[in-house]
Subunit: 227 residues, 2 copies
Amino acid sequence: MASGFETEDDDDRGLISDRIRNALTDEIAAGTLAAGAALDEQQLADRFGASRTPVREALRQLAAGGLVELRARRGGVVARMTPERIMDMFETVAEIEAVCVRLATYRMTPLERSRLIELHELSRPIAESGDVDAYDNFNRQFHETIYHATHNGFLAEQAIAIRNRLNAFRRTQLRQGERLSRSRDEHEAIMQAIAEGDGEMASRRMRAHMLNAATSLSRFIEANKPA
Amino acid sequence: MASGFETEDDDDRGLISDRIRNALTDEIAAGTLAAGAALDEQQLADRFGASRTPVREALRQLAAGGLVELRARRGGVVARMTPERIMDMFETVAEIEAVCVRLATYRMTPLERSRLIELHELSRPIAESGDVDAYDNFNRQFHETIYHATHNGFLAEQAIAIRNRLNAFRRTQLRQGERLSRSRDEHEAIMQAIAEGDGEMASRRMRAHMLNAATSLSRFIEANKPA
DNA sequence: GACCTGTTTCTTGTATGCAAATTAGTCCTG
DNA sequence: CAGGACTAATTTGCATACAAGAAACAGGTC
């Protein structure tokens, strides 16, 4: 938002290793590369029309981000996520978000507060329209606004990193219509607590909000993964 | 603990890139490589008697861990930490630790509880002796025991990762004698809250405990960094 | 027939070489 | 003398080549 130089996001121009990293991230997120899939360096190099060197660098970066598991001299596989681990990640995100909203409540500037209120107001028509992608986009903005309002850059970075890491594994789904309006209602409750300056209350409501989303996903996984 | 094969930890045998990564991590942590120092690939390669390839991989991993900042085609420098950022990191650790101890209070098994009590008892003579290294070691065990008692593997990993990241920047210092006994007193208060099953109380006390440590470090930085 | 062992093959890890890009150094110009 | 542009040198990014380890396979033995 602040840095508006690049025409789009990143692709095509720049470092090959970055292009490969982004492409692999997207493919893992989209599910094109299934969890547990072996990542052959030469094969990937051929596919991207590059040599193994940038592929290796991309894989290392992905491994550092937790998307890929790398065993020495045995190559890499797309990180295999157990339902337990996904729940652990969701709980962690929920707790971190709860921390963020508490700090944000006590520290946000009037400008940040009005920006958040504005965002929240904008979400009403989106939730009513049922446009999941649009709501997803709004939702990310809403939460990231809160991260930054903590005035703790490191915490904000961590929150975004973990959130992205989780996003990469939720595939395309979690698109149950009724969840949208409930999500907005929960945001509403959080906004009210923020408005009252009650960080603890906002924190508890945020935690509940995130855990509701987790439960929703959990049900989806349960339903779609028989094994 | 479970895997007790290696004679020591890691060094000398195994992947060269890992050896370089570990060595650089240690040197950054020890302050041998000052913050902002340029990291020339060829120079490091020569120093470690290797080629640039493993050096590059090591640098990427360090960059992912936040110890090194890498700008495209401009090489890497040891991450420059502003006092603000260090405080942000400390606050983040404090909040995460607070989350951990709350969850741990509600979820720890009797075995984990007795292990923690045992550890805490052991710390009394260490704190009295004033052996900072020994107390440091105990302290790490104490906190990591709490992480694992959350029964959330992902959260525990995150907590350890952030804690390590912070450790790498505190140089050799923070060795003021009086801090030891105060630290143990604070642990005592946390243990009491855990014993009473009051996770919220334990959480608040843990947060205060960590912020005290941060303030202590902050004072040190203020005193030793004139610029 | 099952299991162990030696060999082969494939993959990763490392080294070296080359090209592009950035930086610094110098020369010229205002 | 200051500022800018061109050139040269250093450094990163990538490609290719080689070596070492691991997995797969075949053969033989119990």
